[in-house]
């Protein structure tokens, strides 16, 4: 792949392995060019621009061709791996290199590790789009189809894409002003006008539902603590939630509120702290366990209100994933985390929007599973949580730093209008 350069009068330490790469699209708007140059310099490699044409107006794409050079072959390989992940491709088209997995759950050392961007793989001269796109997976060629597979799901003999030849990544461009969301993606701050954000999120939700899209909500127990529950239930009843992804805690606090009016020690109608509140927490768990599960509790008339009740009554799918801090858990909570991850992943397949409400843990979990073209709205009162969710390679994230209870109140109002 790398061509040894002809003897040059360069200084001893000069780069001597090189490759020509190309990229096109909104290279400047998307800041890709900047990041590409940064990457090359940081890696101790060098770039030489061979050709560059800039889009003359906002609608026209740009094109660049550059020679990337590095002092070592390994260095060149590493910088190319980064550039391909950013959207560059080798100028000379080649088929992807396939190697067999020699053991379950393991792949060859030079495996290609996926991003969450749309990816194409070249096989027998044809470019195929990779299915089930997600980050941190490998690509397996299976009967002519290219599919993202988690490391642990790889089986001996699987044909795994290795290296960067024959791989093209098509990053999402941050489209200027489409839906007007550009403003928020880089603005994680509690000092921006939240009402403007709510309005647009409401518009986004309506638009998506109108076009038959599906919406997943990832929610933490804070939704209940902050009094957002009533408004969230309204969203469920109004058909704006297609799937609920949460943990054991949300469901327990929700049931506790439904049965006893408290949530971990706080009377939600008066806001007064109830010292013995944990007892209600445990009683709520006991009541659901006795019924045999949440659905059974609804059917038996034990559970008559709340978020889980509304989900069950309105046929909204829910997946509760266990965690090390869980009390109980409820019979519905999936404590085998491999199974929980798989259930989460199939639940978000095909959704058009994810709302993550006050839950870093489950929000990151879901973010890891999404392709980059699914928008994710993250709401949390803590700017650090929003930053973290927006940071983990999930460039598609829209962060809103605000009180989740009041946020849901406003969102429900907006969607009611």
């Amino acid at each position: 792949m790398a061509s040894k350069r002809a003897a040059s009068p360069a200084p001893p330490a000069s780069p001597s392995f090189s490759e020509v790469v190309e990229a096109e699209g909104h290279l400047i708007d998307s800041q890709i060019l900047n990041v590409v140059f940064d990457t090359v310099v940081r890696r101790g490699a060098a770039f030489e621009v061979l050709k560059f044409s800039i889009g003359r107006s906002n609608d026209e794409p740009s094109f660049i061709s550059m020679r990337i050079s590095s002092a070592t072959e390994q260095g060149l390989v590493e910088v190319l791996e980064e550039l391909v992940a950013l959207g560059c491709r080798l100028a000379e088209p080649q088929d992807a290199t396939l190697k067999s997995a020699d053991r379950d759950g393991c792949v060859p050392d030079d495996f290609y590790s996926t991003t969450n961007h749309r990816t194409l793989v070249r096989h027998r001269g044809h470019w195929t789009q990779v299915e089930r796109q997600r980050m941190d997976a490998v690509i397996v060629l299976d009967q002519g189809r290219a599919v993202c597979r988690k490391l642990r799901d790889v089986r001996t003999g699987d044909q795994v894409v290795c290296g960067v030849a024959g791989v093209r990544v098509i990053p999402e461009f941050q489209e200027r002003d489409r839906r007007g969301f550009a403003f928020m993606t880089n603005e994680i701050s509690s000092e921006r006008r939240v009402e403007v954000g709510v309005e647009r999120i409401a518009a986004m939700i309506r638009e998506l539902k109108a076009s038959g899209g599906r919406i997943a909500v990832v929610a933490g127990p804070v939704v209940v603590h902050t009094g957002g529950s009533t408004h969230f239930q309204e969203l469920i009843r109004s058909g704006f939630v297609d799937v609920l992804l949460a943990g054991n805690a949300l469901a327990v606090h929700d049931v506790e509120q439904a049965l006893f009016g408290t949530s971990l020690g706080v009377d939600l109608d008066t806001g007064k702290s109830i010292e013995g509140g944990h007892r209600n927490h445990m009683r709520a768990i006991n009541a659901v366990c006795r019924a045999g599960g949440l659905r059974e509790a609804v059917e038996q008339g034990v559970l008559k209100s709340g978020v889980m009740y509304e989900c069950i009554r309105h046929g909204v799918d829910y997946v509760l994933a266990g965690s090390i801090r869980d009390d109980g858990p409820l019979p519905d909570t999936i404590m085998d985390l491999r199974a929980a991850q798989d259930r989460y992943a199939s639940a978000v397949e095909g959704v058009g929007l994810v709302l993550a409400l006050s839950t870093m843990l489950h929000g990151i979990g879901v973010g890891n599973m999404l392709p980059s073209w699914v928008k994710m709205v993250c709401v949390d009162i803590n700017p650090a949580v929003v930053t973290k969710l927006a940071d983990r390679g999930s460039s598609q994230t829209i962060g809103v730093v605000t009180d989740v209870g009041l946020f849901l109140h406003r969102l429900a109002q907006r969607l009611r209008d």
Copy 2:
């Protein structure tokens, strides 16, 4: 004051200076007893309970009499200073010790430093209540009246209360459940139900206004950034704000929004960031300077909307205090901080409630000036700010961790109902 103890068979390092102090009231509920015991032990002193009677029910007061002992006279003095500040008094009544200030702005070394609690001073056998109660002041006896005076306002010859003899402090008891606010005072958290809090604050405001009370609002520029301005203006128009205490920034951002629709680089109707926004900031200042001030700008028709406009149109007094980070400043901003503090202090005299909205600096400034019986509601999205405001000896503070824009929206809705 301290009586040398009779020779005792105590160990060598045993305390040998002692004094009897008493306290009465809701000693247990208010946790005073706990703090008193802590103080004594921390100071290396000792206490011996001479008499204790507990209130038999919630309405009855308790009474305690204790002998406090310390190994050194200085140690005893110091522990007594703390105990008196907590509400204990010397069992043997004495007149307060008065000493002359020997220099402007200075007092004798053993001056009594005030708390913000109601304080009585004994002079010629009579107990007089101290006027203009505030913390960190000295007490001056002036023609039979006892008044809190800031150190810098002390003049040579002023009769200053020294030591703790003849001083009685009457701390505010955290009344259980009156107005139902107890729940929040110790609960600074973003996970509590904000709507419950808003409801009670609205009730508190209505009740106070109904009884002819006055309300001061201390507000930071975040009120404008977060879109809370419209709702705040509604509160002003509806007569719920009697005085506005702020800095230069609030006024400038408010004028910028009124004139250009932006606030430090963000278009408030679309939420989009405006790179050249600072220019509007400076133009807003220039426009007000040209008019000669905010009131003049309103009169000349330059300023036609916004928080400052509503204040001026509805006769709401406002005081703008300068700071080191101010641009401009506006002609209205008081850049002499001594004058600004004095103006703030007279503006809050007699108010029954202070609302501090997203401003740590001015919130602390006002908190320092208030007697402990004036309630202060602090709203900020950052729990650290709320904690800090609630911490500085201002036990009267009610903290609400939430988005100030949405908070004002809900508060205005509640007060409209």
Copy 3:
């Protein structure tokens, strides 16, 4: 249990069910009296102090006897449940009420839900201390022994303690000044002097190790990100860590740093961000999977440094619990959360101190499992995390708000001296 009161001339809504309860100990210091009174009033019940004797000095205990009255029998039951959890006991001694569990994982509705405080149960006239004390469990009487059992571990026929008769809770008193830690327990703030805290924690660690005690460390991946890893490894090598409780992420980041010098996209020696860093993350997982696990990776010479390496080389037990956000996971990570909770619980049995470093999730998980007499030090740069850890009924928590990397640096220095 509750005696109907004789007809009284009280107003119509007056309480009519009552019970006498007693408590003794450092009632004032521990603020128990205050909380007891609060609880009674909040519950709409009433108290009448029958007898009270106060400790005359700091070393003497106090004693109280009160009649608690409520308008309804259910109201009385509920307030008594809270009072018993706080350390009160019924004045008239009775055996605990035992009822059979009628179904696996379920208990009778009026089950006694445990606190994390030392608890005694009266059975056939004798008081027995409950074993495996932890919060949010039930108490099962099994061949004369009383044991805490998690709801999910209850089996049909188990004899479960119900109601509050025959139950005594002995809360930990916050001992004034023993080890001098009192100062920090209520002081969660980034503005306190951290170096003083580090010094005392070092003293506590040394003292505990000198007396043969065991120390558990709960650590999040931030320990690696912030460069605390080297110092943490020193603590392990020096024998200050007996068990490590963590998640998959800590181990993966640690291995990534050991193999590639990066941690999720940041070169840890230069601090420079590596765009392709996730690839190293996945490669690290692949390398450990290929070896068959962490121990195997060490034995095969694949893994030659890092936190996990030091644990394995120095025989430090480690438990890695899975979560919904995990990549991989490593073969060592326990993805069945029931098993993970059980392994965590047995790992912390008998430890004398827990250090929770930058991990809310696992910190809360461990906190739930500890009896209240095991001290827990929580270090995090985010005050909200420290507050949350200190809040969940874990009154034994010492919070330190600081940079965990620099904290470990200073702690290792102190322990080296």
Copy 4:
């Protein structure tokens, strides 16, 4: 300035006022191109790239020439104002437009509002560099020299630059890797390795001092609370601090610690909270007032240690600016904020580095005064403060989220080596 475009077959709403602008330099690396395009689109204007040449390697500059068009003349003016601030210039060179200020403290409406970047003004065909560069000022031409002047310092008759003709802004390019600081400028996070940051800041300080540069430190009282004082004093004694900018609070807390060993209620050697701590605070103020000021207190032997003491003994200039929350103040504190701002501004003139330690207020104040080529290191445990300081147009800011006490400890160690 704007040329009406020839009749074109464009749709009715098409732009019809246009201007050609040029820019050169590291246009891609600096993301200027991206921001320029964004600005144009956001403003509803359009751009047409006329010429673009890209630097072939990292060292070569790029060049662009574009036609900017807008539907209205006012729209064109506004977009040009933004583009010039970003580093574009009108292609056709013109002299700057000068207008007379018609009133003290006021300028013509179309005044040019400065950025903090190096700026040139064209006067009589010559380009002159603007002196005393700072943001949010106006440019006055005075005897052939161009000078930044604050609005309030403008006097009637001053010749003020208006519009954007004849103005060139030369933004600081974020130089890739020089001093290796690039990594931190965009990385405000508590999860990055602070020790790496400390090492580089130490190198930067040494380098600057070696080349005769001056260093200003802006410090909040938290420096004292967190125990950073000793280490800060070491920096002063070692000559690493040339000027100290602070508020009244730092000095009072410092004196309180020096005289009484406490800082607002906390004994700094034991970390124990002192309830009566405010008294020491007031006594510290009284002691300095009695002496006549800090310098006098040092000379009279009243003040014998601390930050202020070391400044005075080592001839380090200090400026204390007042604020609304100040107690006292000390005689040294400048309560006239106009004077304080002027003193701050002259103190930072010519400094090569500013260290802002845990003070948002004074940090922003100083940030406003600095030209963009003076680096500013901001240290705070609260990420929001660091973000805010880095945000206000001060692109030169290096943010470190960490414990300021431990940070100073490490920095002093590093500078001692």
